[in-house]
């Protein structure tokens, strides 16, 4: 067993170091393994890790007994999930009336949560696919966890369209399956149907992408596993990975292809989710800016959530040397950019409303800022426009505790963005007679809580069962900015 590990490590290190065309920053200098890097570069991974050390440290959380902190967090998350399950069960048994919706506001917490979680689910694939294609090699420390986050967020998101139905037991009617009801078919003109396809596709591709990336690490876990059951399970899921060059080559090819496949999905999913609103006739929804605005918002919120999770993970799983302050900084910079996009979109919406001279449009935006839901609007603006501005300062970006707080605020802000779009637009549309307020019931709040419970339950289980950091990929960047120093020292 030890042999196998050693062999595997050797194979792997060979594979990593020997990958002939592995993209890297230093590659433009010609061949060589980072030995000609500029001296100002800093390594991605701190602590001068050896390859074996990386394997040991990343696999440690899987192999040691769960800590008290993990147990406590899990208990909280599980309780929240249980509350959510109870709320959803009660709602399905009793009726949608247990939510605070009304004849005017037909969607509120349900679809807000849905869009929020779908948005969260964006960062993972963005990090693993788009940053991969753009050769942002710092992504390696966070891509696994971010992808896991994507999967769990999409699971949370996917629940809401089902439970928000009046008759969720008929949810399968949304699928165009052959049936005995004559020519009865789904409505391909409905954006909700596009959602079904967009989200299921996105979920499947993300899951495959994540799983494929996991295979080498599952093999590592398999080889290190002490109990036969664990070994057996990891063996099944590692698909007989043997670490050979051929395996690695094929793996790399498929990974690249999947990255290419996943990239348009990152853009398409939220574009299609935004169509739910953009194709409607409701002022405040009927807006052509929505697709880019939603994608930017999704990336923005996704990175905020990745930050939240990574800051917790690096602390509790002792991964400070893998997920370094520089990673956090890089993510902060993306947040500044996407936050800027979002702020621009907010401004553009107001400009368009004024410039269009459409009375309904103008009213709905003034109403957001000055109407009965202005508190939600200004919470959104505060969290999404003002908070990211603090990140221009390097002092803030490198202050992990502060970044953690800011990431939470951005999450709050992005939740409110969706709430503002959905609820304020619906609550005051064309006929003043039908205008209505909205306030959530305990069941709705419990369901939102439950979705967080589900998300963190899944994430905590993930931390215990799978390598949180992509071992193989991290090893690939281990030499980054270190080779030169090592070389100099030799």
């Amino acid at each position: 067993m030890a042999d196998r590990t050693e062999l595997y490590d050797r194979d792997e290190s060979f594979a990593v170091n020997g990958r002939p065309d592995r993209p890297g920053r230093g590659a433009h200098h010609g061949s060589g393994h980072g030995s000609h890097l500029a001296p100002f570069r800093v390594p991605f991974i701190d602590g001068d890790k050896t390859l074996a050390q990386v394997t040991d440290e990343v696999c440690a959380p899987l192999e040691r007994k769960s800590t008290l902190a993990w147990k406590a967090t899990f208990a909280v998350a599980f309780t929240a999930m249980a509350i959510g399950v109870a709320c959803v069960a009660y709602q399905i048994a009793t009726g949608i009336g247990t939510w605070g919706l009304n004849r005017t506001v037909g969607w509120a917490f349900d679809i807000t949560n849905f869009v929020f979680w779908i948005g969260i689910g964006h960062a993972g694939t963005l990090i693993s696919a788009i940053l991969f294609l753009f050769r942002q090699r710092w992504r390696t420390s966070i891509n696994r966890a971010a992808e896991a986050m994507t999967i769990f967020a999409v699971i949370c998101a996917g629940l809401f369209p089902i439970i928000h139905m009046g008759r969720p037991w008929l949810a399968y009617w949304m699928l165009p399956y052959p049936n005995s009801r004559g020519s009865l078919w789904v409505n391909f003109r409905s954006p909700l149907l596009w959602d079904v396809f967009a989200i299921s596709t996105y979920f499947l591709i993300s899951l495959v992408f994540w799983y494929l990336g996991l295979v080498p690490d599952l093999a590592t876990a398999r080889d290190r596993a002490k109990s036969p059951l664990r070994r057996r399970l990891y063996a099944i899921f590692s698909l007989g990975w043997n670490g050979s060059t051929r395996t690695w080559t094929r793996y790399e090819t498929v990974y690249l292809l999947l990255a290419g496949l996943a990239t348009p999905l990152v853009l398409s999913v939220h574009t299609i989710v935004s169509f739910d609103f953009a194709t409607s006739v409701i002022p405040g929804w009927h807006t052509t800016i929505f697709p880019p605005y939603f994608v930017a918002g999704a990336v923005f919120s996704g990175f905020a959530m990745v930050l939240t999770l990574m800051i917790i993970a690096r602390k509790t799983l002792r991964f400070e040397e893998y997920i370094t302050v520089r990673h956090i900084e890089a993510m902060c910079k993306i947040i500044i950019v996407t936050g800027g996009c979002v702020a621009l979109a907010y401004g553009t919406e107001f400009f368009t409303a004024w410039y269009s001279a459409n009375g309904y449009e103008r009213f709905v935006f003034l109403n957001r800022a000055m109407g009965p839901f202005k508190w939600a609007y200004w919470t959104m603006v505060g969290c999404n426009v003002l908070v990211p501005q603090l990140l221009w300062s390097k002092k803030v970006r490198t202050n992990v505790a502060l970044v953690f707080v800011l990431s939470l605020l951005i999450n709050v802000g992005m939740w409110f963005e969706r709430f503002v779009i959905i609820v304020t637009s619906l609550s005051r549309d064309y006929l003043p007679s039908s205008w209505s307020g909205y306030s959530p019931t305990l069941i709705e709040i419990g369901t939102l809580l439950g979705s967080f419970g589900l998300f963190f339950t899944l994430f905590l289980l993930f931390c215990r069962a799978l390598p949180v950091i992509a071992i193989g990929e991290v090893k690939g960047v281990l030499g980054y900015a270190r080779g030169a120093r090592k070389g100099a020292g030799q």
């Binding site: 247990t98 969607w107 009046g166 006739v281 039908s434």
Partner: protein, 985 residues
């Protein structure tokens, strides 16, 4: 009706078959015996077939299962006597419609009338007579009451019948006969909504105590002092039809009458009035006096003495009245005989008698005499009344507390009620002998002189009740027993048949009358001249200070007679849009100055009496007025505690042991022989408590909030009459929005469409209840309405527009607009809402999964979602459900279908007969009930149809035309009289 699954003959047949083969083995014998035994056993414990079933072989003539039968009858909802047609299906009435040929109501039926079909199936109606609140039997009560009455006859005791106005000639005759058997028997009539003063005034001016018949259709200028004639005053359906006839804008020449409403609260009539003058209630006497003086001056004679000085507004009004003499009408709802006498003098001076109102062929819709009631209570208190029979009214609830009816009732040894349940009065009387519901009894009525209507039963009595006439006949003399129908027919044969000449035989006359629901007979026209020899003193202006109290009936509750109808409780008040409660209405400025907000509980102190109820802020109301609706706080309304869905955060509609709303009738006083508003200063004090008044509308202005734009939304378009005559038209986007796309729905056959005339619509809400009855719309309770989850498919949006400081009220009926480019249809993922080839937007309930996307995307917000499974547990009440329309389950969307079941029925019938559907053959429920005929429905592809003709009307516009959803429902712009020009919208 179903047969049992096990046929008792099966065994025998088998045995016979075996016998035929001459091979009855032991086994086959035992098997056959077993079958026969089992069959016999099953037949023995069968619970079905105990009553005779009617196999189709013996199908009654004219009765086809599944086909509706219509019976003409008379509405018993109030004393106005509107004609109805009861639609029955499989022997049970499910819908009431107006009788188009009826000379009084002319086809309309108000919300209360529509809701009468529900009260028929009220499972809380008594099933038996009661004695001392305990269950009794008819034989027992008959025996004891007859004995007691016999003793009273011997002792020459005083017997009184206290009743609401009795318009039925037969009942009057029966009562006369009954009372005639006593030495001292009298009928005292009382109206909960008293018009006693009008009758008294006519006694003074015309020498006859009668209510004139008002002909609003003949009036060009109507000045009303607090008479809500379109809403609740005397005969609103009749008056609405009359008022409507005075406004013709779709046919040339145009006709446009003007209504000037002088009132203290905002009534339905005030909301529709062309000019409105808010005043204190106690100012009215002075204003009427002033007007009488001015009209007299123009007539060149003094018609009242001591008329006060009048201001310019009144002068202008007098000028206009004088110019319109012969075509003018002045009415007043004030129950003050002095004021009414002055009104009579004005009408006389204007030549209104004989033109716009008629005292020679009077109305009998109100006959009550308040002073007689006061005398009666005095006699009761003095112990001089031996027996009191109370019919059709609820004096303990309805009369002013100051009269002390309840205490006086205790002094009456024998008291009998006829109410359908133990109410405030019958729970205090010695007996209650429940009368039938009007839909299950024979009756007749003469609401106005010469119009005799018949009420025929549409169903056998559902409860163990008995007609009043049968009870009285049984108690008269030798206990003779005659059926109600015989009593009625006998009276008609003897007294009414001779008054006509069209029919040679009584049976022919009777059958024809019953078939069409009424007969027009020659009235005994008596010449009643205005007695100008008597001086009429100008009513004295007694304007008090501080706040003044106004008590008023609502469109749904009237004076409380309908407080057991959940439909009417959930009907949004046409003005306030509040349901399931009454309130103290205060003007916005008054509320602001006292720091009172909507829903704050206020303490209203009137002299020594005090009630607490929530505050409602009412624009348009006079600032010194607190107005309280009557009809709430009825005993037993805590039955509605559980009417809505019960869930974690759900709140009951009414707390157990409480009542829906608060009784206010007790605050009235008896003054000058009539029940009037108290003339004391009223105190309104805020308490620390507040409740959530369930109101279907949150935003009441047609304009956006001032701080956010403040622009007027163009959904209700308005034109001044002068501007309209000058060629001004509602705003249209038809031209600029020509689509590049081919027609999505060609609609080559029919294209159903609707046109709603906003000039005609008064907002009376009859259509809302009509729709509810037709389409099985559930009642959801107060909490759900407060959460904005009312289920009505049809609603009336009420907006206030600020016109130079005056409040103008706009009413817009809204149902699904059946858009040609329906936004709801594209977004449904499962195609549960689709367009029919006939232009209907259809909702497929069993395909709906309930995403609510359609409702979100509906610009008119007419879609209704089934948030819960609404209650359908009362099996008796379920009999009101229309079997043509599905009951929707939880989790599906529903909305107006344009009564597709009626369209289908007409299409099937046309196909069966091989004909085409003619225009007007299909009428939607809302259209049918409308007293002002504001709704037209028909085929837009037929260029000659009424709806196509109205579509071409220059006032036609479609709501939200600018977003190009192309509704199949369009509106005719609201045209206001006067020179006030300019377009709004």
């Amino acid at each position: 009706m179903h047969l049992n699954a096990v046929d008792p003959n099966a065994g025998r047949a088998e045995a016979a078959a075996g016998a035929g083969e001459h091979a009855v083995s032991r086994r086959s014998f035992l098997r056959a015996a077993g079958f026969a035994f089992a069959g016999a056993a099953v037949a023995g414990c069968d619970r079905a077939l105990t009553h005779r079933i009617v196999p189709t072989l013996d199908q009654p003539e004219g009765l086809t299962p599944g086909r509706a039968l219509h019976y003409a009858s008379t509405c018993g909802g109030c004393t106005a006597g509107c004609g109805i047609v009861a639609k029955t299906r499989d022997g049970r009435p499910i819908k009431l419609e107006g009788n188009r040929d009826h000379p009084v109501s002319r086809g309309g039926l108000c919300a209360v009338g529509q809701a009468m079909v529900l009260s028929l199936y009220d499972s809380q109606r008594l099933d038996h007579p009661t004695a001392g609140r305990e269950r009794s039997s008819w034989a027992d009560v008959d025996r004891t009451i007859t004995q007691k009455l016999a003793r009273i006859r011997e002792e020459r005791g005083a017997v009184r019948i206290l009743s609401c106005s009795i318009t039925s000639p037969t009942t009057r005759a029966v009562i006369e006969r009954f009372l005639g058997s006593f030495a001292d028997g009298r009928l005292v009539e009382v109206d909960a909504l008293s018009a006693s003063a009008i009758l008294d005034a006519h006694l003074r001016t015309h020498g006859v105590r009668a209510l004139p018949r008002y002909h609003f259709e003949r009036a060009e200028l109507i000045v009303s002092f607090d008479a809500d004639f379109l809403g609740t005053w005397i005969s609103p359906v009749e008056f609405t039809a009359g008022w409507r006839a005075g406004r013709v804008l779709d046919n040339h020449p145009h006709r446009m009458s003007t209504v000037v409403q002088v009132e203290s609260r905002l009534s339905l009539t005030g909301a529709k009035a062309d000019e409105r003058i808010p005043v204190r209630p106690d100012e009215i006497a002075g204003l009427v006096g002033g007007l009488a003086g001015l009209v007299g001056a123009r007539a060149g004679r003094r018609i009242v003495t001591g008329a006060p000085e009048a201001d310019a507004t009144l002068g202008d009004l007098a000028d206009r009245l004088w110019r319109a003499r012969g075509r003018a009408l002045v009415v007043s709802g004030t129950n003050d005989a002095g004021v009414q006498a002055a009104i009579n003098a004005v009408n006389e001076a204007l030549g209104a008698y004989g033109t716009t109102l008629d005292i020679e062929e009077p109305s009998y819709q109100r006959r009550g005499d308040d002073s007689e009631v006061a005398d009666l209570v005095g006699q009761m208190r003095a112990g001089r009344i031996a027996a009191l029979l109370v019919h059709g009214c609820n004096p303990v609830y309805e009369l002013p507390d100051a009269l002390g009816f309840a205490e006086a009732l205790e002094k009456v040894p024998l008291s009998v009620g006829f109410a359908d349940r133990l109410d405030e009065t019958t729970s205090l009387t010695s007996y209650d002998c429940p009368d039938h519901h009007p839909l299950e009894s024979w009756d007749d009525a003469e609401p106005v002189a010469g119009v005799l209507t018949v009420t025929q039963p549409t169903v056998r009595p559902l409860r163990g009740t008995r007609a009043l006439r049968e009870s009285l006949t049984a108690w008269t003399g030798a206990g003779e027993r005659r059926t109600d129908r015989d009593i009625l027919r006998a009276h008609w044969r003897d007294h009414l048949f001779p008054r006509q000449s069209a029919h040679p035989t009584f049976d022919g006359f009777w059958d024809e009358t019953v078939r069409q629901g009424f007969a027009v007979l020659a009235a005994e026209r008596a010449l009643r001249a205005f007695d100008s020899s008597r001086e009429i003193p100008s009513p004295a202006a007694r304007v008090g200070s501080g706040m003044a109290l106004v008590l008023y009936p609502t469109v749904a509750m009237h004076a409380g007679q309908h407080a057991h109808s959940p439909w009417l409780h959930e009907l949004p008040d046409p003005i306030t849009k509040v349901v399931w409660d009454n309130y103290a209405s205060l003007a916005p400025v008054t509320a602001r100055s006292r720091g009172i907000e909507q829903g704050d509980i206020v303490k209203v102190t009137v002299g020594e009496r005090r009630i607490e109820l929530p505050a409602h802020i009412q624009p348009g109301q006079h600032p010194e007025v607190v107005a309280i609706p009557l009809g709430y706080g009825r005993m037993g309304t805590d039955r509605f505690a559980g009417i809505g869905p019960e869930w974690l955060q759900g709140r009951p509609t009414v707390e157990r042991g409480q009542t829906v709303g608060t009784r206010a009738a007790g605050l009235a006083v008896l003054r000058d022989g009539a029940v009037q508003l108290p003339d004391v200063e009223v105190e309104v004090a805020k308490t620390r408590r507040r409740v959530n008044l369930a109101c279907t509308q949150d935003h009441h202005q047609i304009e956006e909030p001032k701080e956010i734009g403040g622009e007027r939304r163009p959904v209700v378009q308005e034109l001044g009459f002068a501007a309209f005559e000058a060629g001004e038209r509602p705003e249209s986007h038809e031209e600029e929005l020509r689509s590049l796309w081919p027609e999505d729905h060609p609609m080559r056959g029919h294209h159903w469409g609707m046109v709603v005339d906003l000039s005609a619509c008064t907002g009376c809400s009859a259509c809302v209840i009509g729709c509810q009855a037709e389409n099985n719309v559930p009642v959801v309770g107060k909490d759900e309405v407060a959460r904005h989850r009312e289920m009505h498919w049809m609603r009336i949006d009420r907006y206030y527009a600020d016109e130079a400081g005056r409040i103008e009220t706009l009413m817009q009926p809204l149902m699904c607009q059946h858009c040609e480019n329906a936004p709801c249809e594209t977004v449904c993922p499962v195609l549960a809402t689709v367009h029919s080839s006939e232009g209907l937007n259809q909702q497929v309930y069993n395909r709906c999964v309930g995403t609510r996307y359609c409702a979100n995307n509906c610009p008119f917000k007419t879609r209704r979602f089934n948030w819960f499974d609404y209650r359908h547990e009362d099996r008796m009440e379920n009999m009101v459900l229309n079997p043509e329309v599905t009951i929707r389950t939880r989790g599906v969307m529903e909305k107006c279908s344009m009564c597709v079941q009626r369209i289908q029925e007409a299409k099937h019938e046309a196909r069966r007969l091989g004909t085409k559907i003619t225009d007007g053959e299909v009428e939607t429920a809302c259209q049918e009930s409308c007293p002002s005929r504001a709704i037209a429905f028909g085929d837009l592809n037929d260029p000659d149809s009424e709806v196509s003709r109205l579509r071409r009307d220059p006032r036609n516009y479609r709501a939200l035309e600018e977003i190009e959803v192309r509704p199949s429902v369009s509106y005719l712009a609201l045209v206001r009289p006067g020179s006030r020009g300019g377009r709004h919208g």
